[in-house]
């Protein structure tokens, strides 16, 4: 974008400010019930309708009909007595937590290395670090399966972890590098000038500043790992069924009321997670101002 001189911006958002142009107070900048806002309202309904449908149907007495037949908890009871769902959930959490923990280290180191050093082959390295975000999941899944088969590595839960680290570290590195870009470098230089070793400067000066970026990168990677169906189903060994794989095997044959109950539970959890993530981001941004 174009660089603008640091003149005070006219305050267009408060109709009572002297900067506010008179004719605009009654036209485009004032929020009002226009066709645009109605359209946006409809789009919000579009985004939330499927979620609402899942939650409402999870309490519907009738298993397969679309009409409301009365309130019930039975699908939740049904679900909570289902050992396979819990085994799958445990597998998913094992994969996501392991993959995110390893990726947090690898991704942060990578982001710092790419931001702080110029070296031959840097552009190539940078390009490869973006590949996991660009190449479709199905192609990554296929490539990983074929490679593991070619080197004779037997599939298990840990091969899913290895495959998830590939995209988790790429996402964490992106989030950390945007944070790195607007850090105050003088602090690190001051530490080095004052006799800190590069390792001390990294752990005591840089890392604390990067923490909010690392945390939000990890949350993003965690959600993506918990959500991944394709890569997991290609790299899973026998018995290593993750939650999305379990859900997929149930819903490909149609609507299942206990999956509705599961959806409602997962939606509540991800709602809480999203809230925590936004709260962390909000706090760190408020602190920086």
């Amino acid at each position: 974008m174009t660089e603008t001189a640091p003149t005070p911006q006219p305050d267009l958002d408060h109709p009572d400010s002297p900067d506010f142009p008179l004719d605009m107070a009654h036209s485009s900048f004032k929020p009002r019930l226009s066709w645009q806002s109605v359209f946006v309202g409809l789009m919000f309904v579009f985004m939330y309708l499927p979620i609402l449908v899942l939650v409402v149907y999870s309490f519907n007495e009738s298993a397969y009909s679309a009409t409301w037949e009365g309130f019930t908890w039975q699908w939740y009871e049904y679900l909570l007595s289902d050992a396979r769902i819990f085994a799958a959930l445990r597998n998913s959490l094992t994969v996501a937590i392991s993959a995110v923990a390893i990726s947090a280290v690898l991704g942060t180191l990578m982001a710092v290395g790419l931001a702080r050093y110029r070296f031959p082959g840097r552009q190539l390295y940078l390009g490869i670090s973006y590949l996991p975000l660009i190449i479709p999941d199905i192609a990554i899944a296929v490539a990983t399966l074929v490679f593991l088969a070619a080197v004779g590595f037997s599939l298990s839960l840990w091969t899913i972890v290895a495959a998830h680290i590939v995209f988790c570290l790429a996402y964490i590195a992106i989030v950390v590098s945007t944070r790195l870009a607007d850090l105050d470098r003088n602090l690190e230089e001051a530490a080095l000038d004052l006799g800190a070793t590069p390792v001390q400067a990294f752990f005591q000066v840089l890392l604390p500043q990067l923490m909010p970026g690392i945390v939000s990168g990890c949350l993003l990677a965690f959600v993506l790992s918990m959500d991944d169906f394709l890569i997991a189903s290609f790299t899973a060994g026998a018995g290593a069924t993750t939650l999305p794989m379990e859900i997929f095997s149930r819903i490909r044959t149609g609507v299942k009321p206990d999956v509705n109950a599961l959806s409602a539970i997962l939606i509540s959890f991800s709602g809480i997670l999203a809230f925590v993530a936004e709260f962390v981001r909000y706090r760190s941004e408020a602190k920086r101002r």
Partner: protein
């Protein structure tokens, strides 16, 4: 999620004054672990499937000897070419739908909504992304199936029932729903930076709102439009879940075809690898086009 290039530091790196040995140690220590991982589990595997894609009629246990491009020619057979074309059509349709639906939303949130509500509105719009993509698509089965929510609602109003589940139209709905938040996020970040003084100047100089929109707003938002469209295009081109769950037998796509070559009833790893290479190639072409024309349209301003 974003495909924007990382910000490159303009100032000299503080570490460039370090002695050569320490510098080298730093580069290796920071970049070798992730680099090795990506090399081992991304670059090498991609080379391996490229090699495998050149082996026609492979059977499990065969020695892999690249011997021809039959697998790629097979992708050009009418039935398979139809699948490739359908995938492209669905991806383009999804991109246009997301752009058409997402632009007004991003525009309204960025420019028309009260300022203090903007972040909250944007957050609210993309919040469904936090829930399982599998379950969000599954919800559309409950909505679109013949006895589902949509037809119950239509029945109340007196409109005859629609039968779109297990047809390409349902895939289009599901994919647009899945990827609309990404489009809105990217368009918003581009529209938010819009120079409002240009809009005022245009209105002051007598342009109609429509003229202002096409001559001022759209050109300024063009990099965002291009990036958002690219992201939605490549994600929907490789999407498996929506076509598989909503499309039925009538909407076989490249991603589903690849899946069947590995986890289906009659596996053919060589053909599946060739299709994967075609998919990677298609995505690369889309990105190259964006870099070539996206940049020139951005600098013309």
């Amino acid at each position: 999620m974003s495909v924007s290039p990382p910000p490159s530091p303009t100032s000299q790196s503080p570490n460039s004054e370090l002695p050569w040995g320490t510098r080298w140690l730093g580069v290796t220590g920071l970049l070798a672990p992730a680099g090795l991982w990506l090399l081992l589990l991304l670059v090498l595997p991609t080379l391996v499937i490229f090699q495998l894609s050149l082996v026609p009629n492979i059977r499990p246990g065969d020695v892999v000897i690249p011997s021809g491009i039959e697998n790629y020619l097979r992708a050009l057979e009418p039935a398979n070419l139809g699948v490739v074309l359908r995938s492209l059509k669905l991806a383009i349709g999804t991109t246009l739908l997301c752009l058409g639906l997402g632009f007004p939303v991003a525009y309204w949130i960025a420019l028309l909504a009260p300022q203090r509500w903007r972040n909250l509105l944007l957050l609210g719009f993309v919040l469904p992304l936090w829930t399982s993509s599998l379950l969000r698509t599954y919800a559309w089965i409950a909505i679109l199936r013949p006895t589902g929510v949509l037809n119950s609602l239509l029945g109340i109003v007196g409109i005859p029932a629609l039968d779109i589940l297990n047809r390409p139209a349902a895939v289009l709905v599901g994919m647009s729903y899945s990827f609309l938040p990404y489009m809105v996020l990217i368009l918003y970040s581009s529209l938010e930076k819009l120079d409002r003084q240009l809009l005022e100047a245009s209105a002051d100089l007598g342009a109609t709102p429509l003229q202002t929109f096409w001559k001022i707003t759209v050109p300024q938002a063009l990099p965002g439009i291009a990036a958002g469209s690219l992201l939605v295009f490549i994600t929907s081109l490789g999407d498996f879940i929506d076509p598989e769950l909503l499309g039925g037998a009538s909407s076989m796509t490249v991603a589903r075809l690849i899946y069947n070559q590995f986890l289906g009833q009659t596996p053919n790893w060589g053909f599946g690898s060739a299709l994967s290479m075609v998919l990677i190639f298609a995505v690369s072409v889309a990105i190259a086009l964006l870099l070539k024309y996206g940049d020139s349209s951005a600098t013309q301003r």
